[in-house]
């Protein structure tokens, strides 16, 4: 395992120099950015589902929160990107931290669906408010600056790296063991001294903070956001498919799953644009039936 993780660092290094090597960069830049974005999302969810056992099916709510916060700060208050992004991530993280105690009394698919409801409800709120641009959405300023063609690739690469490191830490640390205990049996975890409410809230907070950051970078990257794209259940599903495909509760699984899924859907998307939805559905169904435990699955 440890060796495999070294390989991942090499992989990150390769991704960092890739822009210099690949021809046809705008195209590959887009594909790689998507894959890295999905990786970050899957890794963020892995903290929560993989280690803590809570499937935040609607975790993309925090993607939306992060994205919208960043967008509104930049557009309406002309705050520069990086500070906006950071605030976006923090708003997402703190929101999660605050709602965690009541929300995380629910388990398994009750939790999953409640978070999904939250995600949809937030989408509705954003769609109905003025300062969020309503259903019209927001057009962000366009990035013009150094590394213009590479900027977002590096941003996403950075996020994926951070997420990966956090996963590594959780996998190995005392903190991570406490989370795993919660995943297995909360009553027992309490009985051996793990304050479950505290730890699971933290886990939710970290996961959502990362998700929020990804949302912020995405918003800036894609330049046009609206409620349906920022609170998109399909993105939730993609995140979890990537996660489950690669293997929940492993550090490498989410990365692997995300790249695999993104590459496959890119091929499907560009080759068979008309039927890509059908194929995507088919892939999800087959994927789960064939590798129900994920490629690197432990559970």
């Amino acid at each position: 395992m440890a060796r495999l993780e070294k390989v991942i660092f090499i992989f990150f290094a390769v991704l960092a120099v890739l822009p210099l090597l690949l021809p046809d960069w705008p195209y590959w830049g887009r594909v790689l950015s998507s894959a890295l974005m999905l990786s970050s999302l899957a890794l963020a969810q892995n903290v929560l589902l993989g280690y803590t056992g809570y499937p935040a099916f609607g975790g993309i709510a925090f993607f939306g929160i992060g994205g919208y916060t960043t967008a509104i700060l930049m557009k309406s208050y002309s705050v520069p990107f990086l500070p906006s992004l950071l605030v976006g991530g923090m708003v997402a993280g703190f929101t999660a931290l605050i709602i965690a105690p009541p929300l995380m009394r629910l388990k398994s698919h009750y939790f999953a669906i409640t978070t999904l409801a939250l995600q949809l409800a937030l989408g509705e709120v954003v769609a109905n408010l003025e300062f969020t641009g309503g259903t019209d959405g927001i057009n962000l300023p366009i990035y013009r600056g150094p590394f213009e063609g590479y900027f977002f690739h590096f941003m996403f690469l950075f996020l994926a790296l951070i997420s990966f490191l956090i996963n590594l830490w959780v996998d190995r640390s005392v903190f991570g063991y406490a989370l795993k205990a919660i995943r297995e049996d909360e009553v027992a975890a309490e009985s051996v001294g793990v304050n479950t409410v505290l730890f699971k809230s933290f886990s939710f907070g970290i996961s959502s903070f990362l998700t929020g950051l990804v949302g912020g970078v995405y918003a800036y990257w894609i330049t046009y956001i609206d409620p349906t794209s920022m609170f998109d259940p399909l993105l939730s599903v993609k995140t979890f498919v990537a996660l489950l495909l690669g293997g929940v509760g492993t550090t490498i699984g989410p990365l692997l799953g995300a790249f695999l899924l993104e590459m496959v859907s890119e091929i499907v998307w560009s080759g068979l644009t008309e039927v890509h939805g059908i194929i995507l559905g088919l892939l999800i169904v087959l994927g789960i039936l064939l590798v129900p435990r994920g490629i690197l699955g432990v559970r």
């Binding site: 705008p26 195209y27 887009r30 769609a127 309503g134 259903t135 019209d136 959405g137 057009n139 962000l140 366009i142 990035y143 894609i222 330049t223 046009y224 609206d226 349906t228 794209s229 998109d232 998307w269 560009s270 644009t273 008309e274």
Partner: protein
């Protein structure tokens, strides 16, 4: 090579199909003449289409794909303001160029984009024209209910109507939006039924228009004047509603009653004739808008004598040409500023122009549903 991501399915399938017809008619005509002239070479036109399923984020994705993967520099716009809005950001980001005849929301032009041009008058004009017509009729209506779909275009159009109504001294008894994709307007209908307005304005797209008429009838609501922003001029409208479509008003960007000269088709009449030959029915404004957008792009490219985005853009900014569609000229923000709109009414199953010039007298007040 040009690219377009248009709705062939979903809410805007009808309008998207018409838009494509407009593009296709233009393409065939240009290719018949040997293609677009750039410098002294002629290029055959090829248009890559994708279906955005009436979903803005799909539009954005597809436009991005057109630019990065299919290497298209010139984009013909999608249908629907939200779609245009979404596409615009992408076009701007990659410094490609889009000319569109499918989005009328004024918001598109408030982003400071430099690479997006549109041949539609902005959305508030839709509402404004309807109200202007309504107040010119005898007996003068007193109250108006305005309902709209909550999307970037319809809301804009509804606000246009609201403002104009206030200005003209109409009492607005209801001004309310409903979410995209709503299939049942019962609660709105109940409200309208209670308020008994003289005028009902519905801002939405084709599907909404059909739904509004059906439900007005179902709830036995009989205003004197029913005006819908999008739908009435589309042939499918009459097909879907039959008799119930009679006497509904609708604003148009363009009418075949216009009389202009044209570099490609000779004149408005020429365009109408070509369209009729090709598709077996009269053109309406969506198709015309498509043709006009493509035509504007063509003219700019030919004048620039180059396929460089910047040069073509300069030509677009400075152009002022008469076409079958009216005079085309853009302001700094990229919106058209040189042409009028009109209003039609369905009479005998056909849209006839009743405002600002009259092909026929408007029927008013509208008879009750039967």
């Amino acid at each position: 090579r040009l690219g377009a991501a248009v709705s062939f399915s979903g809410k805007y399938a009808k309008e998207g199909e018409l838009l494509k017809r407009g593009y296709e008619l233009w393409k065939e005509r240009v290719n018949a003449k040997g293609g677009i002239k750039v410098g002294n070479k002629r290029y055959k036109v090829e248009i890559i289409y994708y279906d955005d399923r009436s979903d803005p984020k799909t539009t954005a994705k597809l436009v991005e794909k057109l630019i990065t993967q299919d290497k298209v520099r010139f984009i013909l716009g999608p249908y629907g303001s939200a779609q245009v809005f979404a596409a615009a950001g992408v076009v701007e980001k990659y410094r490609a160029l889009m000319v569109q005849g499918g989005g009328a929301s004024s918001k598109i032009y408030r982003q400071g984009y430099r690479h997006v041009f549109g041949v539609f008058n902005i959305a508030p004009d839709y509402g404004k024209n309807l109200i202007d017509l309504a107040v010119s009729l005898k007996p003068r209506p007193k109250t108006v209910a305005i309902i709209y779909e909550k999307d970037i275009f319809s809301e804009d159009a509804a606000r246009g109507a609201l403002e104009e109504a206030k200005k003209k001294g109409l009492k607005v008894v209801l001004f309310e939006g409903y979410p995209k994709g709503t299939q049942d307007l019962s609660s709105l209908m109940l409200k309208i039924r209670m308020k008994r307005p003289d005028v009902v304005i519905g801002a939405g797209h084709f599907k909404d228009s059909v739904l509004v008429i059906k439900q007005l009838k179902q709830f036995r609501i009989n205003p004197k004047f029913v005006g819908l922003t999008v739908g009435p001029p589309v042939p499918a409208f009459v097909k879907a509603l039959g008799k119930d479509a009679e006497y509904v008003f609708g604003p148009v960007q363009w009418s075949k009653a216009f009389r202009y000269k044209d570099p490609l088709f000779g004149s408005t009449e020429g365009f109408v004739k070509a369209y009729r030959e090709r598709y077996g029915e009269d053109p309406e404004y969506h198709a015309a808008g498509g043709t006009a957008a493509a035509l504007a792009l063509q003219i700019a490219i030919e004048r620039a004598g180059s396929l460089e985005v910047d040069k073509v853009r300069k030509e677009l900014l400075s152009m002022k040409v008469e076409t079958f569609y009216g005079v085309i000229g853009f302001d700094e923000t990229g919106k058209i500023v040189t042409k009028p709109m009109a209003v039609i009414q369905i009479q005998g199953g056909k849209p006839v122009t009743v405002y600002p010039f009259r092909e026929a007298e408007p029927v008013y007040p509208k008879p009750e549903w039967k």
